[in-house]
């Protein structure tokens, strides 16, 4: 089997100075801030590297989070059923270099991130994304739904059904 053209690596010393996805904030983040966030364990950044050129062509950040109900006055709280918090994974940023867009790299990275979260030892029930306005449609195509009242924060359950599909696709065509 031939080698896949791209590989995912944890952000390290890869050259990303020329990374340009069309959004200055996302470009600046991967060039200047992602390492710091990684070092202070705020989020992990993973880069998609083209094997032939060594170029960083896409990246995403992943962090553990939990979904919690807003604290409310105790007199009101008593009337409501108690909900536990929900362990979740947050894709804070996902960007593809403009020169590599429309080549399915974004969806491949999303699928990769989903698999990582489902393999994680820590329980994780939900995938949450903070979408940029122009990227919200990308996530809605997969069935991500907006958190009520937060239109650009979208979620999708990391269900056994999704895990089964990933395994099924991975196994297809193999002996």
């Amino acid at each position: 089997m031939s080698e896949a053209p791209f590989t995912v690596e944890a952000l390290g010393r890869q050259d990303r100075a020329s990374f340009s996805c069309g959004d200055p904030a996302l470009d600046r983040y991967v060039r200047e801030q992602a390492r710091q966030d990684q070092e202070r364990r705020a989020s992990n950044c993973f880069v998609l590297v083209e094997r032939a050129t060594g170029m960083v062509v896409a990246y995403c950040t992943l962090s553990s989070t939990e979904v919690a109900k807003m604290s409310i006055p105790s007199r009101v709280r008593k009337k409501l059923a108690g909900y536990p918090t929900i362990p979740a994974a947050l894709i804070g940023r996902l960007a593809v270099d403009s020169r590599y867009q429309r080549q399915r790299l974004g969806e491949a990275l999303l699928a990769w991130a989903t698999e990582q979260m489902q393999r994680s030892a820590a329980a994780c029930a939900l995938l949450v994304v903070d979408a940029y306005p122009e990227a919200a449609g990308f996530y809605r195509r997969f069935g991500f739904r907006p958190v009520l009242g937060q239109e650009l924060r979208l979620y999708y359950p990391l269900s056994a059904k999704l895990q089964d599909l990933a395994k099924q696709v991975a196994a297809a065509g193999e002996e």
């Binding site: 896949a4 053209p5 791209f6 590989t7 995912v8 705020a42 998609l48 962090s63 553990s64 989070t65 939990e66 979904v67 919690a68 109900k69 807003m70 409310i72 409501l80 909900y83 918090t85 929900i86 979740a88 947050l90 080549q103 399915r104 790299l105 969806e107 491949a108 990275l109 999303l110 699928a111 990769w112 698999e115 029930a125 939900l126 949450v128 903070d130 940029y132 306005p133 122009e134 195509r141 997969f142 069935g143 739904r145 907006p146 958190v147 009520l148 009242g149 937060q150 239109e151 650009l152 924060r153 979620y155 359950p157 269900s159 059904k161 999704l162 599909l165 990933a166 696709v169 991975a170």
Partner: protein, 92 residues
């Protein structure tokens, strides 16, 4: 159909320069000024409150999420294509 969210009005006094700045930033993000302010203020408030490791939602939103977890959707064709792309583009 998405449920409507109860909203409240918050009056702010901003300088002309601040208004111009936030409108320009909102345009850059293809958002209305209101959408932009809601999103940025929420993110920054969560950060200041040290809540960036938590996603804070309303009771109604929590109920919706719980329901989705109880009856998760069948992954659609977009997911199938994404896992196929992941396999061919990234490999094992």
């Amino acid at each position: 159909m998405a449920k409507s969210v109860r909203t409240r009005r918050l009056d702010l006094r901003l300088s002309d320069m601040d208004v111009a700045l936030l409108r320009a930033a909102a345009r850059r993000q293809s958002e209305t000024a209101s959408q932009f302010v809601r999103r940025i203020v929420r993110l920054e408030s969560e950060r200041i409150l040290g809540a960036d490791a938590r996603i804070i939602v309303s009771s109604e939103a929590m109920t919706e999420i719980q329901e989705t977890l109880t009856t998760p959707p069948e992954p659609n064709e977009a997911w199938k294509r994404a896992f196929e792309s992941r396999k061919t583009i990234i490999g094992s």
